[in-house]
Subunit: 196 residues, 2 copies
């Protein structure tokens, strides 16, 4: 081993992050060591602070430094729309898109019998309890088989509540070239065509 166990351990832990392997983790650690003052110290401090402060919101499942989270406690989010997402990453993506004064509900995954994920493993019961506070629930699952199955299951469970249930539109991505799109997307985009 060319370096001490402390460095080796840091490499191994960084290599477990998604998108990093052993080689890029080594490069990252060398970069950190070279920029000790400018990057390594702030990163260590930021990580320590995050360990102490980050928690999961008890209402929606978002991660934030307090619970309930900033979105759930935001008094300006009064549109009455609740967007149900699989994961916190999807919530962040929608927030970056600036979708408006909505609130969210993070399921924590999708139904997947093969992986042993049933309704009790997702926050579906909590969703049913929240549903009556909203006028519309948008099911923003990923357009995968599991995502759509989960959306159908939730639609069934919410049917009795009387709240309006919608899903995201399928269609051509903005900036997308028709030539590169799959047949399913194209046929859905044609079915849902709108007047100019």
């Amino acid at each position: 081993m060319a370096s001490g166990p402390e460095i080796e351990q840091l490499i191994q832990l960084l290599a477990r992050l998604p998108g990093l392997g052993p080689r890029s983790a080594r490069r990252a650690v060398l970069h950190l060591i070279k920029k000790k003052e400018a990057l390594m110290l702030p990163l260590a401090a930021a990580l320590d602070r995050a360990v102490e402060t980050v928690r999961v919101c008890e209402i929606c499942g978002n991660v934030d430094t307090h619970s309930p989270c900033g979105i759930c406690t935001d008094p300006r989010r009064t549109s009455g729309i609740l967007i149900v997402v699989e994961d916190v990453a999807d919530l962040w993506a929608l927030e970056r898109a600036g979708v408006g004064a909505v609130k969210y509900h993070v399921l924590g995954g999708v139904l997947s019998p093969l992986d042993g994920v049933g309704p009790d493993d997702l926050s579906i019961d909590q969703l049913l309890q929240r549903a009556s506070d909203f006028s519309e629930i948008v099911l923003a699952m990923n357009a995968t088989v599991e995502g759509q199955t989960t959306a159908h299951y939730i639609t069934d469970r919410l049917a009795a509540s009387g709240v309006t249930i919608t899903r995201l539109a399928h269609g051509v991505p903005v900036g997308g070239a028709l030539d590169y799109l799959d047949e399913g997307t194209l046929s859905q985009a044609l079915k849902a065509r709108t007047s100019m």
Copy 2:
């Protein structure tokens, strides 16, 4: 912002690591938050330990938790061979290859007039001081123009010391397909052909 400033800051710092961009840094942070006990806590602790303990070896320029480093103080490295590398990453790569009981000298870069890197910015004077302790000095710079220029410069400076100076062989990488190799490598490999 969907999450607190602590999370946002952690994302921005991680995004400055080589190989990670804003999107993969967000994924990494979510992964860390989900695996708080198994990954985030150990990583925070490892980073804190590394900040405290990692230092640059005063003799060879390697990074380790003590100076002189484990390689410089290793009593079994008696081959009398000193390998000169550009960067710590190159030293680690050679150590992984198990090149034997050698010692190293990290230059800290290559000569590059365009970037304003001259001989005084590299640890060339320290190399000259160490040279007499070794019977052979291997110049293991990268096979780039700057790397080879630096190797020639060091050869000139070391000429008076009388120590044997060598360089790494050029040739076909092990497992490499001829079809994908550049002409320069192929012509060097043919020139340096060896008998079966």
